[in-house]
Every structure is written in structure tokens, then in C-alpha cells.
């Protein structure tokens, strides 16, 4: 099994979710994160003091998939999340040694 992980722009989450649903993905887990990278952050002013915030809000998506689906899923995510502007984010794939469904204890593909 593989764990496909993506960092995307928050307002792209809906598009990515729909794309994955169409691609038959049954589930995913998302969380708010903050990203640092080429995309510039912002300067804030507080009572005359300026300071820069390098981090920009992003959303992280984790999707467990069968080995063969990893790359296609990664590509689906990239298509859906792409705006072409700096800061679109990354996708990476990790190998998961085993996966279980808590409710049933099922393992592997059946756990998805």
C-alpha cells in the first residue's frame, strides 16, 4: 500500500476532493498546515513594528491507496490542484507496510 501525501492551496481542496472521488478514491484525511517555500509570505504591522510571516496557509491531504493507484492518484491531485502560480504545492508518495480498518480489523486493500 502507498500513502500519497499532498500539500495544496486551501481553496483547491474541493476540486481535489471531487477529482479523487471521481477517480474512485473512497476516503482521505486532510489537515490545516502552514507552508514555507518560494511563495512569499506577508508582512504584518503591529503598533508600528513590522514583521514578516513566511508561512502561508496550506492544506495537507493524505490518501492511502493500492500500490498501483499511487501514481495515477498523485497525478489526479496535481491536475486538480494546479493553478500554475507559485505555491501550488507538492505531492509525495510513501510506502505503507500495512493498513488496517479499525472497525473491522480488515487489513490491506480491504481496509480502504
Amino acid at each position: 500500500m502507498k500513502l500519497v501525501t499532498a500539500i495544496i492551496k486551501p481553496f483547491k481542496l474541493d476540486d481535489v476532493k471531487s477529482a479523487l472521488q471521481e477517480a474512485g478514491v473512497q476516503g482521505m484525511t486532510v489537515m490545516e498546515v502552514q507552508g514555507f517555500g518560494r511563495q512569499r509570505g506577508h508582512t504584518e504591522v503591529y503598533r508600528g513594528a513590522e514583521y514578516t510571516i513566511d508561512f502561508v496557509p496550506k492544506v495537507k491531504i493524505e490518501v492511502l491507496v493500492d500500490d498501483g493507484d499511487a501514481v495515477p492518484v498523485a497525478e489526479k491531485i496535481m491536475e486538480a490542484a494546479r493553478t500554475g502560480k507559485i505555491g501550488d504545492g507538492k505531492v509525495w508518495i510513501l510506502a505503507a507496510e500495512s493498513v488496517y480498518r479499525i472497525r473491522t480489523g480488515e487489513a490491506g486493500s480491504d481496509a480502504l
Binding site: P10, F11, L13, D14, V59
Partner: protein
């Protein structure tokens, strides 16, 4: 009795109008005082139960409640003289005693001021039933309770025709009518609706105490209208009531924090807020009848007694979620009884020489009346409330309580299809 506008005192009218607005503001204040203490998934439901009282009770008050509370001269219940806003702009209730004859504000201002009390009283109950009642059940309960419990008790105590009023029982701003009444009703409802899922094993800490603190600020602020406005004049008695209100709240905050520090090792923000409210509750019946150091004693005791009363619920095993009983029932009884010690004709001629035990020329007579008033309110309110809620539990399909699953998900989503917070930026 037609109000003679020649008697109108603009200063008193200005003060009671202001006070009515202040008391109205207390209901949102209460909503946030409680709202901050519940879990985030039930925040809006708590706010809504309180705000909805502003809507429903106002309408009921206009069409029926005011008339039932103040109309006519029957000692047990009002009549229909003022039903549907009839004559409320021009007339005071008929009144042989001449009580209303001394008023210097337009009748409709008196009605408005009293309305705000009718609104906040049942709202106090929301703290006890937090996190588990269907909104539909609350709607029915709220309306029935206001008509069947609030109006009668208000009549007994606040109407010059009421049997407790006639007896000589004193209640300046609602120790019995508001706090004991709501507090004992809360107990009845809690018994019927049962414990929150997971209580007491699961900790259910406040989701946002700053809301509770802003609610506390609003309550303290509004309570000046509640108590000092109850003078219905802009005079020294109003001033005394104002001062007593503040001093009782302040002292109770201190004593609550001290006991807390001793028992738990920490003085908490919530403790400070809770103490202040306990003091405000206890001083309510006494506000315009006592003077000197009495407010410090009353408030000081309230802070200690109410704090200790909180321990009861775990012992007795009823889940009074936000301690309405410990603060309003216990605090209300405490204040009503202490008034039997400290009521002073020098402060307010209405005491009519019937001074409290500790005041020169005092006796136990007033105390007797106070105990009757407390007892009568306890029995009547508990009984009728219990019947109302039991009936509703039978009549409403599935009962008054939400399903286990809905309770888990939270009332905001399941009762109102809303969430209190969506900080995550996704659009």
C-alpha cells in the same frame, strides 16, 4: 386604573427605560456566560436557547403573560384585563392598596421592565440542561413554563394583589420570582432529562472562557438595571440598590476565589466570574431593602455557600451542567433568607417597620414571611415544572432529549445545521 400623566416623572422614566434596556442585554450576556462553558459543538445551541427566549417570551408577555402576572386583584393569579396589549399604554392594574397609584412612570414602561424579567428567568435554566435537549422541546417548555410557572409566581410576589406580597414577604428584584423559581425548575428538568453522555467520567471543559467573561461583564453591567431599576424611581433607594448590587458581586468574587484557592490551590478566572454572579443572585431580593455592610455579608456568604453547593451535584448524581442550582437556587434562597436578617425600614419605608432580625426594632416576623415565600416558590415551581417536562417527554416523539448520536455530533449541527467556528480558510 388610568395613569395620570401629571404624575409622570421624566427622571424616573428615563431610569426605568434605561434599566429595561440593561435587563434585556442580560439575556445575551447570559447566553455567552453559559456558551463559553459548553463544548464548542454546542455553542450555538446554547446561544439560541437564550436568544429565542427574547423572541418567544416577549410575544407571550404581550398577549398573555403580563396580564396573568399583574391583572386584577385575585391573590393567586392575574386576569385577562391586559390580554393582547389591551390598555397597557394607559392603565395600571386595579389596585385597592394604592401601590400602583404611587408610580410615576408610564404603565407601558413598567410592563416593558417586567417583561425583561420574564425573559431572563427561564433562560437561566438553559445552563442546567446544556448539550442534550432538542430545540423543539425547549421551545415548548419555554412557552408553557412562562405561562404556567413564571406568571403565577410573579403575581404572588410582585403584584400588590399577590398573596405573598400581601403577607409582607419582600423580594426587591426577584430572589424568589427569578432565581429560586428558575433554580428549582432547573432541578426538575435535570432529573427528567438525565445526565450528559459521559458525565461525570469524561471531562467537558469550557471551550472558550473569554465568552464566559464577556458574559459576566454584561451580566454585572445589566444587573444594575435589574436591581436599581426595580426601585422604579431615580432616587436614593435606587442608589442604595445600585451600590449593594456592586458590593455583593465584588465580595462574592473575593470569597469564592479565597475558598477556591484554599480547596483547589488555584484562583480561577471562572471562579471569579462565578463568584460575582453568585453575589448578584443573593443580593437581588435584598438590593433596595438593606444598607451599611449588609451587602458585603450577603455577598461574602454567597461566594462561599454557592461554591460549596457545586460539590453537591456529583454527590447527589444529577448533572446540572453549568451549576444553575448551586448558583441560582442556593444563592436565591440564601439572599431571600438573609433579607430576613437585614431588611431595614430606614433604608426603604416599604419594609414598613417589619425590620430584619439583626436590625434595631427587628423581629422574626419578616423571616417567617420570607420562609413562606421561599417554600411556596420551591414547591409550586418544582411540581408544575416537573409535570410540564414529563408531559413533553411523553408527547414529543422520541422525547425531549436528542439521540445519543446527535449528542455526540453536537447540537449545533443536529439542531440548527450550523457550526460555531470555521476558522479554516477554504474559500
Amino acid at each position: 386604573m388610568v395613569f395620570d400623566s401629571a404624575n409622570l416623572d421624566a427622571g424616573a422614566t428615563a431610569w426605568v427605560l434605561t434599566s429595561s434596556a440593561l435587563v434585556m442585554f442580560m439575556t445575551p450576556g447570559l447566553a455567552f456566560f453559559y456558551g463559553g462553558m459548553v463544548r464548542g459543538k454546542n455553542m450555538l445551541a446554547m446561544l439560541m436557547q437564550n436568544f429565542f427566549a427574547l423572541g418567544l417570551i416577549s410575544v407571550i408577555w404581550g398577549f398573555l403573560g403580563y396580564s396573568l402576572a399583574f391583572g386584577g386583584t385575585n391573590p393567586l393569579i392575574g386576569n385577562f384585563d391586559f390580554v393582547g396589549m389591551k390598555d397597557v399604554a394607559t392603565m395600571y392594574p386595579d389596585d385597592p392598596t394604592g401601590w400602583f397609584g404611587a408610580f410615576v412612570i408610564p404603565p407601558i414602561v413598567f410592563m416593558a421592565f417586567q417583561m425583561m424579567f420574564a425573559i431572563i428567568t427561564p433562560a437561566l435554566i438553559t445552563g442546567a440542561i446544556a448539550d442534550r435537549m432538542k430545540f423543539s422541546a425547549w421551545v415548548w417548555f419555554l412557552g408553557l413554563w412562562s405561562i404556567l410557572v413564571y406568571s403565577p409566581v410573579a403575581h404572588w410576589v410582585f403584584s400588590p394583589a399577590g398573596w405573598l406580597f400581601e403577607r409582607g414577604a419582600l423580594d426587591f428584584a426577584g430572589g424568589t420570582v427569578v432565581h429560586i423559581n428558575a433554580g428549582i425548575a432547573a432541578l426538575a428538568v435535570v432529573i427528567v432529562i438525565g445526565k450528559r453522555k459521559g458525565w461525570p467520567d469524561r471531562v467537558m471543559p469550557p471551550h472558550s472562557l473569554p465568552w464566559t467573561m464577556i458574559g459576566t461583564g454584561i451580566l454585572w453591567f445589566g444587573w444594575f438595571g435589574f436591581n436599581a431599576g426595580s426601585a422604579l424611581f431615580a432616587d436614593g433607594i435606587a442608589g442604595q440598590a445600585f451600590m449593594n448590587t456592586n458590593m455583593a458581586a465584588a465580595t462574592a468574587m473575593l470569597t469564592w476565589l479565597i475558598v477556591e484557592k484554599i480547596k483547589d490551590g488555584h484562583a480561577t478566572t471562572l471562579g471569579g466570574a462565578s463568584g460575582a454572579v453568585a453575589g448578584l443572585v443573593a443580593i437581588t431580593p435584598c438590593a433596595g431593602f438593606v444598607g451599611g455592610v449588609a451587602p458585603f455579608i450577603i455577598g461574602g456568604l454567597a461566594g462561599i455557600v454557592c461554591y460549596l453547593a457545586i460539590g453537591l451535584k456529583k454527590k447527589l448524581g444529577y448533572d446540572d451542567a453549568l451549576d444553575v442550582i448551586a448558583v441560582h437556587l442556593v444563592g436565591g434562597i440564601l439572599g431571600s433568607v438573609l433579607l430576613g436578617f437585614f431588611a431595614d425600614t430606614k433604608i426603604n419605608p416599604v419594609v414598613g417597620g417589619n425590620n430584619g432580625v439583626f436590625i434595631d426594632g427587628g423581629s422574626w416576623d419578616l423571616m417567617a414571611d420570607q420562609l413562606v415565600a421561599v417554600g411556596a416558590t420551591l414547591v409550586f415551581s418544582f411540581a408544575v415544572t416537573f409535570i410540564i417536562i414529563k408531559v413533553l417527554d411523553l408527547v414529543i416523539p422520541g422525547g425531549i432529549r436528542v439521540s445519543e448520536e446527535d449528542e455526540e455530533v453536537g447540537l449545533d449541527l443536529t439542531q440548527h445545521s450550523e457550526v460555531a467556528y470555521s476558522f479554516a480558510e477554504r474559500s
